[in-house]
Amino acid sequence: MRYHRWFSPWVLVVPALAWLLVFNLWPSINTVILSFTNAKPIGGGTFVGLKNFEALLHDEQLRYALLNSVIYMIVCLPFLTIVPLGLAVLVEKKLPGITFFRTAFYTPVVASAVVVALIWQWILDDRGLVNGMAEKLGVISGPLPFLSDQWLLLFSAISLTIWKGLGYYMIIYLAALGNVGRELHEAAAVDGASAFRRFTNITIPGVRGTMILIAILISVSALRVFSELFILSGGNGGPGGRDSSVVMLIQQYSQGFEGNLGYASALSIVLFFVTVVPMLALARLNKKAADA
């Protein structure tokens, strides 16, 4: 039995649905359409067939971008799945002042990626904090080119992403820890299990589902990285543009007279497939683990 007129629910849903259709669904379809054209940022564009996709195959910058993305993902995955869990366990107990620590650990998440990247740019500067202290301690004789060497720049951006992500995944784990039965911990403690044993045998299995979700989130966001690399490289993708990410290339082709929205759309389709693969792989892993 219904207690409302047939159109009442639709009146409430329509604004959100309209947004979904106009700003999510239609752009998804239009991305595919645009990828077969040579549309310019100013407008216009004609059908060019598979030309953009052929160009993708010969795009050296794209090859570097994909390599960078894979490295990004491989380095971020272990750090960001494990360290935030430790942090969540650390802030779980309601000690005096814990709210302050939780808020403080979350601050890098709240700050804009642009802000934190500019802060790190200064810290990693040739004459910045890290190089200055390392030289003072005699670890290095000259400044390390964190921001101008292809690999150092990439790893600087990766460390920045890890640092910025810690608090975010910590909070997700913290919510999950609330679901791990306290009774189990108590029983194990009574049986004489050490804190470490309880962590490996109760906490980790208890948050396994969350861990896989977090692994998916990390992989996808590693492949989508933009601001960190953009700012640290001064907007040009480092030496020879070799420190670009796929999103940076998309942005690069979205602007100015040199821009090509058709090619940027083809890159977007590459990005879609690249991000879907780890998602599906990890979701499968999750299912397998649940079946076992």
Binding site: A16, K93, L95, S112, L118, I171, L223
Partner: protein, 309 residues
């Protein structure tokens, strides 16, 4: 849309079991004695907490310190000094002389207010209808919202720009705000929140003759204030921090938001770290104040299950 899928936002998945209630029950059931911490463990915990604190907050303090150091002061000194020897606020004024930073702040605020308002209204209306009202097509609509979560916002950002351009909103602040004004994720968050309300409450209201709108305003909304604040906080942070989307939409330096303006500043005056430090603090301090004042709603939302793992 980038504002919506901003990574700073925990992901929520509607679940079938009303886990929030179960969680609260369990928490109450916990034995008190187990929660006490031995003095030794306490010390270890605080030492670790302070260590992590230095890592997470240290860089911000260093930037703040740089922004306050006098022009005559050597900021490159080998022995880093956290406290400025000649503290000055002059670099903050100098930022405003270099770029119209206060205009940029107003632009960012305008975008953020539109995005917050749109999300509160749009997602609570849709979330209420999807969870409390039976109608044909409900499952389909819900499925559509869920499906978009899989799509990274960057994939559609180019054609989204084309759409905004067709509306004649390229290079406008409204164009920056528009696509993010109702996020699919927020609709699902609100949907989830409204679901935890017992059906009997609705039925009682129906018996009393309350119509859909009255049930939404007097029964629905008051019970989901926690989730609304989480939606509002993240919509604000997402809009304020967003960089890629305004960078694509805005071409005119007068219309830049703070993040794009900061990048512009660092491009023009990269030789004075004090200025850039002051600029970053101007963008950073408001968001910290917003988050610090509202954090108890945020962490309460986390405990109530607005943020799900």
């Amino acid at each position: 849309m980038t504002v919506v899928t901003e990574p700073a936002r925990p992901v929520a998945v509607p679940d079938e079991t009303g886990a929030a209630n179960g969680r609260r029950r369990r928490r109450k059931g916990g034995t008190f004695g187990f929660n006490t911490v031995s003095p030794r463990e306490k010390v270890v915990r605080y030492v670790l907490l302070v260590f992590v604190l230095l890592i997470t907050i240290g860089p911000f303090l260093w930037q703040l310190s740089t922004s306050l150091k006098g022009s005559g002061e050597d900021i490159y000194t080998r022995i880093p000094r956290l406290l400025p020897a000649q503290p000055t606020l002059s670099h903050y004024a100098a930022v405003a002389d270099t770029i119209p930073v206060w205009d940029y702040m107003r632009n960012s605020l305008q975008v953020a207010v539109l995005v917050v308002g749109g999300n509160i209204v749009g997602s609570s209306l849709a979330g209420f209808a999807l969870s409390r009202l039976q109608f044909k097509g409900r499952k389909l609509v819900l499925g559509l919202f869920l499906a978009t979560l899989v799509l990274p916002g960057e994939v559609t950002i180019i054609s989204q720009y084309v759409t905004v351009r067709e509306f004649g909103l390229a290079n406008t602040l409204f164009g920056v705000a528009l696509p993010g004004m109702i996020g699919a994720l927020n609709v699902l968050l609100m949907y989830n929140a409204f679901r935890s309300l017992p059906v009997e409450v609705d039925q009682a209201a129906i018996v009393d003759g309350a119509n859909v709108w009255q049930r939404f305003v007097y029964i629905g909304l008051p019970s989901v204030r926690g989730t609304i604040s989480v939606v509002a906080i993240f919509a604000f942070i997402g809009a304020w921090d967003d960089f890629l989307w305004p960078l694509i939409v805005l071409t005119d330096p007068d219309k830049y938001t703070l993040t794009v303006g900061l990048q512009y500043l660092s491009g023009t005056f990269s030789n004075n770290p004090r200025l850039i430090a002051a600029g970053t603090m101007i963008a950073f301090i408001p968001i910290v104040i917003v988050f610090a004042t509202l954090q108890r709603f945020f962490f309460k939302g986390v405990e109530e299950g607005a943020v799900k793992g």
